[in-house]
């Protein structure tokens, strides 16, 4: 793979179209499969009834909100270190989709919290740190938009994105570090999932669908940014 060859916006532009198309098709197929498994195949939860099915969008959206931020900070840091134009463009292209998934995680969490906890919102560590993540995304987007000089706005945005990365482990470990109303992790690398296999399959399919969607949308957006002149 010729990494430095594709670091140029001009050479990356046609490659981005091919990847975006493939990921867009994969996202649609995975979403159909995920919704089928999540809404039809997966059994009703014994305690929560049908409302637990919010998990099939809430958890994947929350994962994407954190993953996209890490990727955005990675590209921003790369741009800061190597001064490559494409890195800043990638960071800018990722931010709106990351903010959207963060909002979706908060919205679906609120609608899940009301019937199960008895409240839409509580200022516990997990919810509050996720809300801070939304503010970080919005701050990044606003900062980029407020500086006309593209090199300077990319550098300023990169500093904010890198500093904000500290919030990601806080979100992830908040349920272990503090007493929270929010439950612990549903899925872990170190132990088997604590849910039925079909529920787990539906969640993974939706996570993959959101992942493919994010790649496709971000690459289409970065092509727009390239056409706009960076």
């Amino acid at each position: 793979m010729k990494w430095f060859w594709y670091a140029s916006p001009e050479t990356f532009y046609p490659l981005a179209r091919r990847i975006a198309l493939a990921c867009g098709v994969a996202a649609a197929a995975l979403a159909v499969a995920g919704l089928y498994v999540g809404l039809i195949v997966a059994p009703t939860d014994a305690q929560q009834g049908e409302v637990y099915r919010i998990i099939f969008i809430h958890v994947p959206a929350a994962w994407m909100s954190m993953f996209i931020y890490v990727m955005m900070a990675f590209w921003a840091a790369l741009g800061l270190a190597l001064n490559t134009r494409l890195s800043g463009m990638m960071a800018r292209a990722l931010a709106p989709t990351g903010a959207l998934f963060t909002f979706i995680a908060l919205w679906t969490g609120a609608l899940w919290g009301r019937p199960t906890w008895g409240t839409y919102w509580v200022w516990d560590a997990r919810l509050t740190s996720e809300l801070i993540l939304l503010f970080l995304y919005l701050g990044f987007i606003a900062l980029q938009a407020s500086i006309d000089d593209r090199r300077r706005s990319d550098r300023a945005g990169a500093v904010l994105a890198i500093v904000g990365v500290v919030n990601i482990p806080i979100i992830y470990y908040s349920v272990q570090w503090w007493n929270t109303l929010h439950q612990g992790a549903s899925v872990s690398f170190t132990r088997a999932p604590s849910m039925a296999a079909t529920m787990f399959a539906g969640m993974i399919l939706m996570a993959l669908a959101f992942w493919m969607y994010s790649i496709a949308v971000s690459l289409v957006r970065v092509r727009c940014i390239i056409r706009e002149g960076g």
Binding site: E50, P96, T97, L100, I104, L111, P115, V217
Partner: protein, 33 residues
């Protein structure tokens, strides 16, 4: 009642994703001209 929470989640999620796609397609058309 619980169905409102369920469909409120799915409905708003997919509506927002479609809005993002629509705005992006608009931007694609504008930058191509």
């Amino acid at each position: 009642m619980n169905h409102w929470y369920l469909w409120g989640s799915y409905g708003v999620t997919f509506a927002l994703l479609f809005v993002e796609l629509a705005l992006l397609m608009k931007r694609v058309r504008e930058t191509k001209t």
